[in-house]
Amino acid sequence: MGYTGYLEKIADYKFRISEKYKSGMLTDGIIYADDKLIHSIKQDNALEQVANVAFLPGIVGSSLAMPDIHWGYGFPIGGVAATDPEESGVISPGGVGFDINCGVRLVKTDLSVKDVKDKLSKLLDRLYNDIPSGLGSKGDINISLKEEVKLLKKGAEWAVSRGMGVQQDLEFCEDGGAMQEAQPESVSQRALERGRFQVGTLGSGNHFLEVQVIQEIFEEDIAEKLGLEKGKVTLMIHSGSRGLGYQVCEDYSRLMVKSLPHTGIQIPDKQLACAFLNSKQAQDYIAAMGCAANYAWVNRQVLMHLMRRSFEKVFSSSWQSLGLELIYDIAHNIAKFEKHSVLGKEKTLCVHRKGATRALGPDNPLLPQEYKSTGQPVIIPGDMGTSSYLLVGRQEARETFSSACHGAGRIMSRKRAKAQGNLSELMREFDSRGIEVRAKGKKTLLEEAPWVYKDIDSVVDVVEKAGLSKKVCKMVPLGVVKG
């Protein structure tokens, strides 16, 4: 294991795998990293996967990898690829992943550390009790299949129209919390059944809720425009489309793998199975993926609503008076049609982001009015116990089709994490940093311990120095709730 193939450094924070590396590559692979990160990235098969993605028909620009890249299945985690519908471009469910629209939302508060410190234990207990989490968790929201179909079409608005949030929340979600391409007829009965009982559930693995404090501000003006101050408390939610998304990906991967021999498409890994964007199979997948994306936006909206209610109970005050307002909600496992400039010409491309975040620069028409001057908030959760970042997109990030990283990126397998980790040591480390943790499974804590991830500070520094996004502030955890 480990990459020993062709790789050259072409700029301070950029490495290249030439398209000559493998016969069948249609373009180069470009990896954003510094010397230290690239050493760690070479330890697994992620770079081989960057090369494999370059086989996708109709790929535009390069097969891209963010500095948090690590070994996934099909695409690397941290991979970005854009395809052109007018050049026989394809869409690949493996380029989106099973957890369609896994994403993050960041909520600001008017509370400072001293307001929260004495109530932190009570608050975390409340959050832990009120928000369903853990493996295969079931939500408190029971809906009929008919209602689920409405939810899949409407996205986050479905939750807001039922009192779980306000209209303003929708403005601060990527795509307003709903992909217009969603067509519930394209979602299998099995996927509908699988998703019915999981609305408003956190899940397990690397999904979490975090109570954080802003430790450092890098861009005062932007932070002020976003209403963020050093010492103020923020909240972060990381979750996705749960079983419904997994089933949609499985249904369409199965179909595309079966059809692959009849399409003439040559790919080195079947998990990259894909369909031409103008085919019915691709159109059906896009319609179903849109539904799963909408489910995920509903899920995070409901989770935020439950979080707001928990705060209301603990602080005996309304969430509005506590200032629990959504900063932004981003998707980091998704494929979307976006307009980008290619060789001076504006084109609509299908941009796959598998463990990567859209990062639109200032003045982009897709941004809400409030963020037109700042650029899109780019939320980068770190590992449990260290730090997370808020960045904003930059217009210069054209080469990545306005994309940045999505997290720290794993460096150690779950098996090794459990074998080498020591739970008591981990809990002592949390204690020493003043972090309180509530978790359904202790095993999950070891699997997600800080030492199994790359150094988030280095990853974010590369993103900034490579010109992909600009750092606004750094948040550190006070309390973590994990499934």
């Binding site: 299945y73 295969g136 079931k138 793998v257 079947k270 998990q271 794993r410 150690m412």
Partner: protein, 140 residues
């Protein structure tokens, strides 16, 4: 559980399964998967399901089989305890299975590991003098 061993993968879980026959490989792979998800569970089998699946290759058929079982578990709470499997390789790769199992509500019990799906990535089935070896990576 002696039907499998773990293989290294940075983000997900990989397993290697050894068996004397293809049918046994499919059966052991299923047992291994559910051991990872739930651990050791047993109960009187009172539900029987029959399924038929097809795929382009025998490796693809293994993924389709495992994902079908995962889907039945998460959707209908069906735990596959004792599958009897028939595999046909000609003219297409197909599988017919009669599975004895029991109801197990995934929402009312503590699972060990959420497995989202079996993937096609680095999927292998090889034949040697002792039988078959399968390697599967699960997205977790």
């Amino acid at each position: 559980m002696d039907t499998f061993e773990f293989i290294e993968h940075t983000a997900d879980i990989g397993i290697r399964v050894k068996a004397k026959t293809l049918e046994e490989l499919f059966s052991f792979s299923a047992k291994s998967l559910f051991f990872i998800v739930i651990g050791d569970v047993s109960s009187k089998c009172h539900v029987t399901r029959e399924i038929e699946l097809e795929a382009g290759t025998i490796e693809d058929l293994l993924v389709v089989w495992l994902n079908e079982l995962l889907s039945l578990f998460y959707t209908y709470g069906f735990f596959p305890s004792n599958p009897v499997i028939y595999i046909k390789q000609n003219p297409v790769k197909s599988l017919r299975a009669k599975i004895k199992g029991f109801r197990l509500n995934p929402y009312s019990m503590r699972l060990k590991q959420e497995v989202k799906a079996a993937t096609y990535h680095n999927l292998k089935i090889t034949k040697n003098s002792k039988g078959y070896v399968g390697e599967i990576i699960f997205d977790v």
